[in-house]
Symmetry: D2
Subunit: 145 residues, 4 copies
């Protein structure tokens, strides 16, 4: 539906996470509600950050704050399907990183939905921007689209 963006395929992305749908992902129309896709974005990126040691919920003094997100929907998905969320780094700034993300139904190479989301790194106490930490920056640089 977006004239601006071509539809993503798996080759456009670097890291994938399997996400089974849940009963109440579906809304009154019997398909996964548009809002739920954003929870999958959050889940895929934050799980990768935590599992690779870049985010410790109890201890990190620097955290990524979401400042902008967007999603375009091409095909509907319904419980009990399992999807994959794939992402890559689209833009890496001094304090910010923008991910592109695709949601794939099983066995499909074209995204059912795709979007972006941007983290700005801030000090957890004062919520002011700080540079993306060096180790994370290096990892993100390798995940460029």
């Amino acid at each position: 539906m977006s004239e601006r963006q071509p539809r993503l395929s798996r080759a456009d992305l670097r890291v994938f996470r399997v996400i089974p749908t849940r009963w109440h992902d579906n809304d009154a129309y019997g398909h996964v509600n548009n809002v739920v896709y954003y929870s999958w974005f959050d889940t895929a990126v934050n799980a990768w950050l935590i599992e690779n040691g870049f985010l410790d919920l109890g201890g990190s003094e620097i955290v990524g704050l979401v400042v902008e997100t967007a999603c375009t929907y091409f095909e509907s998905v319904a419980f009990p399907e399992t999807v994959e969320a794939g992402f890559a780094v689209e833009r890496l700034g001094t304090s910010s990183v923008t991910y592109r993300i695709g949601i794939f139904r099983e066995g499909r190479d074209q995204a059912a939905a795709q979007g972006r989301f941007t983290h700005v790194y801030v000090g957890r106490a004062d919520q002011r921007p700080v540079p993306v930490p060096a180790a994370l920056r290096a990892a993100l640089a390798d995940m460029r689209a």
Copy 2:
């Protein structure tokens, strides 16, 4: 988006709905999770459609399918705050309508977050685009930003 759009104020919007936050709108960072704002968009627009007779969940043969959404976040919000979601029509096409939406904290005139979302009207059975129904089109035309 943040560079392209000025921050919305209440005068930029036409219809407002009061939405109290809920305990679990907050995420592990102690603020309302970015995903939740989209549930407020959905709620404000669909409540208006239902309460004005343009959508009947049980009976409507034509429904709005969300095909694109976006949100930019300026300030955080936390439970137990109450927010207001305000919206107006930004673009009215043959089969589609794009709303602009702002989320306002109590007593504030500048949006804490703002976004857009686009409904494409489809037949409920075949999910194919149809023109926006005439009565709804007239109402939407009066809600232009």
Copy 3:
């Protein structure tokens, strides 16, 4: 539970909170999903605790941990209805408090759903039980059913 408990009316409860439903409270059956009622319980009790100074999300060293919940459903509710959640203290122990809660549709005196939930007070750091703080205990004693 349904055989053991009479259906609650408003007079059985002490504190009420208005909670508008949201679009995605409804599930694929077009009614509010059973899970959502528990989010209303959490919201009503925690809002009361915060607004009366008994819980400070940033600073409290003692917090209530939910250890048991239950709900019985009598009538369905659907978006865009507004409900009221009412509660009272059913049992006040050394470290724990059990609330009874009713969910009321507009203009109804009998609960559409009702349940209980039990908080055990723990130290936030070590998660070990501690006595219910004295000021809170006094307030809870006044809210007995």
Copy 4:
């Protein structure tokens, strides 16, 4: 925390479903919110019903309505953990079925949380109780705890 029930182990249950946590399953305390466990109950049971042909969201004229649920919490769980939801049939009535459900952390044999939920079968149109359909009844009889 329940004096009445022993803590469930995997041997007490019949069917298991792997459920990865999501970022926003965690609440402001940094652990999975108590409400979310009920969404896992719903997901495990309904996925089993759909995948075994006992529930067709588009077409079934008879559906299970949730009339009672309960959960006791023993240990906290946090994103990005993956849990397993296991269930068995505790009571099979004429129109109703009560499941016992346990939530297990990886590698653990004792439930981190456990509960029950009861479906009453109703006609989708009139919402009146009907007997549990025969094929489903036979399958449920084999899943007794």
